[in-house]
């Protein structure tokens, strides 16, 4: 048939499309998390490997089964469930009993994500909200730290990891407190250089600031992360804790604040979660400042040594409000609108 006579395709414009798609963004977040993940497995050994595999698989399976039970097409191909599982695992202590971790994954996906409508509709970051619920349910287990760089970490699985559900776990080795715990309860500051490189104890993926920043830089370079969020959080924390430190030198230095605990992992990978952070420019700045102020307040004056998780969840909660209250100025309106 003559090409001039064949039926033509009818579509609406635009007839060009940028090549980036949602599942690619999600997949790249997984890629960005790989250095942190590999370092975690290197420093905590089999315990970390098991934990991360279990949380990731549990999260993906939960979403897949939920979709199947509801006769929907499975949505695990968008990679977001895998991110939730991986991120949850990275925020947990290495020797946490695995059944608790599985429970965390199920809660993250079921309660926080799919019941709100799935990807794009959840109010809170699923991994963080899941972790918050674990913290409420198992306050002791989730603050029992496992030492990093044990000699037998690649051959021995901590017995607490394999504890049967609903039994009391016994711990093989218990690390002293994390740098933040030491600071809060014993008033001993860790070396900042150790925290930058990841030589201290803590949650699986929060220990190496360098690798977290590397992952973040990768996403920023690919335009898949808003750099304003971590930068604003860091600035707010540095300025606020700097002022407090100036008047009361017994409080931690801004540098210690930035490189300890979940600050890096939270600011780079959790607060930047596209779904649960604001979308307007001014909303993003205020949201980041709220997180920065809240984390300092909780760490210095709250009952807990770490406050990143609650600070971000609080930021998530006000995101929809910030989007409405802090709209961008539309071209031709307001100040410049009537200008001649």
């Amino acid at each position: 048939m003559n090409v001039l006579n064949k039926p033509l395709e009818i579509r609406t414009s635009p007839h060009l499309k940028s090549s980036v798609s949602t599942n690619q963004i999600m997949f790249n977040v997984v890629i960005a998390l790989l250095p942190v993940t590999i370092f975690a497995i290197y420093s905590f050994g089999l315990a970390a490997l098991l934990m991360l595999s279990v949380t990731t698989i549990a999260a993906v399976l939960t979403e897949h089964i939920y979709c199947r039970l509801n006769n929907k097409e499975s949505t695990v191909g968008d990679w977001s469930a895998a991110i939730t599982g991986l991120l949850l695992g990275l925020t947990l202590p290495p020797a946490l009993p695995l059944w608790m971790a599985v429970l965390g994954s199920i809660v993250s996906i079921m309660l926080v994500k799919v019941l709100f409508g799935g990807l794009g509709y959840n109010v809170f970051n699923p991994a963080l909200a899941g972790r918050a619920i674990l913290q409420a349910a198992f306050p002791v287990a989730i603050t029992t730290w496992h030492p990093a760089f044990l000699a037998d970490r690649f051959t021995h699985i901590p017995s607490s990891s394999l504890a049967w559900p609903f039994t009391t776990a016994t711990y093989d080795a218990v690390a002293g407190a994390t740098p933040l715990g030491n600071m809060k309860f014993n008033h001993v500051a860790a070396e900042v250089s150790d925290m930058v490189l990841g030589m201290t104890s803590g949650s699986i993926g929060e220990t190496s600031a360098v690798l977290i920043l590397l992952g973040g830089a990768y996403l920023v370079a690919r335009n898949m992360m808003n750099w304003k969020i971590p930068v604003t959080i860091f600035l707010t924390v540095a300025v606020f804790s700097g002022i407090v430190h100036f008047f009361n030198p017994t409080t931690p230095t801004p540098l210690f604040m930035l490189f300890s605990g979940g600050m890096m992992l939270g600011a780079v990978f959790m607060a930047t979660d596209m779904v649960s952070s604001p979308i307007t420019d001014r909303g993003i700045i205020v949201y980041s400042m709220i997180i920065g102020i809240m984390v300092v307040v909780i760490r210095l004056w709250g009952g807990l040594p770490e406050g990143m998780m609650y600070a971000i969840l609080m930021g998530n909660a006000v995101s929809p409000l910030l989007n409405r209250a802090l709209k961008s100025r539309v071209y031709g309106t307001g100040r410049k609108g009537g200008a001649k």
Binding site: L4, L8, P14, H15, S18, I25, Y331
Partner: protein, 350 residues
């Protein structure tokens, strides 16, 4: 195809164009020039086909100090304005004289994309000394050719929401339109042909063609040659142009380009739609700082009133940048077109 009137030339008659009375720029009054432009049937040749005589009739309560000649190609792929600037410099400057007189503007800025150095130079060389004209290079980015964007780029002014360029003291005329005014008015002729970019991966002989208005697409594409895997024929450019279902439609004054895509490009635009993940890429892409993400969600729930009143939907000029960047492949600009149509219908009915 819509059945239309079928015109057949009387066999014995040779077809000739009957010119009207010439309109001389020195002797004509502004009203006479505007009338002559209307008589010549000149409309915006950039693609919108807005009647030029309406545009140049500045309301009494407003005044215009600057005339902007839009030499920025309105969309990727299209190169007609570029050709006009290389080949019809004298027509352009003559057109400027007419428009200056008609609008009372005191100065002229010709905005050209920075990557078209040859056009900038050729116009600079031919610019008459007595014309208050400056030629400025603007950044190459879409949608720089949109009236509002060009005004902001050249004058740092903004057209008020719901207003016209005259509300911020300027008037913008496409460069090809200007050239037609300069070419036709001294002769007293009407517009009967225009230059069109015929291009795209589905076309064999790509280029700019001077085509009589009314020529069926089929005939034009027969001359340019179509490839076997051509699937989509678009009137206009890739960002705002619309597809045709039949090649038996004519080229109109508003047809700035004819773009033909093949299976390959067509597949790249038909992708799985995900939910909005709030990446804010559309907010960054929107040239007038709307919130396409929020409006997309509102459109799905048919909340057209909120879209209009709280999110300035009616200011959207449908450039398509939001749809282009959306990683979730949500047809945002399509929703906005539909929503605007519904709002307009509602207002017309009320």
């Amino acid at each position: 195809m819509v059945m239309s009137i079928f015109l057949e030339p009387f066999p014995a008659s040779g077809q000739t164009v009957d010119p009207g009375a010439p309109c001389k720029v020195d002797s004509a009054t502004p009203a006479e020039i505007i009338n002559a432009i209307q008589e010549a049937g000149i409309v915006g040749l950039g693609g919108a086909a807005f009647p030029t005589h309406v545009k140049l009739k500045i309301p009494k309560d407003k005044s215009v100090d600057t005339l902007i000649i839009n030499g920025v190609e309105c969309e990727p792929y299209l190169t007609t304005d570029h050709r006009v600037m290389l080949e019809q410099q004298d027509d352009i400057f003559m057109g400027i004289r007419y428009i200056l007189k008609a609008t009372g503007a005191r100065r002229v800025i010709i905005g050209i994309e920075a990557n078209k150095a040859d056009a900038i130079i050729s116009l600079q060389e031919r610019a008459p000394y007595d014309l208050p004209v400056t030629i400025e290079a603007v950044k190459v980015k879409y949608p720089q050719g949109a009236e509002k964007m060009l005004i902001t780029a050249l004058l740092a002014r903004e057209v008020p929401s719901g207003g016209l360029p005259a509300d911020c003291g300027c008037v913008v005329v496409n460069v090809a339109t200007t050239a037609e005014i300069g070419r036709l008015l001294p002769l007293g002729r009407g517009i009967i042909e225009r230059s069109i970019t015929i291009t795209g991966p589905g076309v064999k002989k790509r280029g700019n063609y001077l085509i009589p208005i009314g020529t069926p697409l089929r005939y034009a594409l027969e001359q340019a040659g179509l490839k076997k895997n051509a699937t989509r024929v678009i009137l206009g450019g890739p960002m705002m142009g619309f597809t045709v279902s039949s090649l038996d439609v004519p080229i109109t004054k508003g047809t700035s380009g004819l773009l033909v895509l093949t299976d390959k490009e067509s597949q790249s635009t038909i992708r799985k739609e995900y939910a909005c993940i709030g990446c804010s890429h559309c907010l960054d892409a929107c040239p007038i700082f709307l919130n396409p993400s929020r409006m997309g969600r509102l459109a799905k729930f048919e909340q057209y009133d909120i879209m209009e009143k709280e999110y300035n939907l009616m200011d959207c000029f449908e450039c398509g940048s939001c749809s282009y960047v959306c990683p979730s492949n949500i047809p945002l600009v399509h929703y906005f077109r539909v929503a605007k149509g519904i709002i307009r219908d509602k207002k017309a009915a009320a």
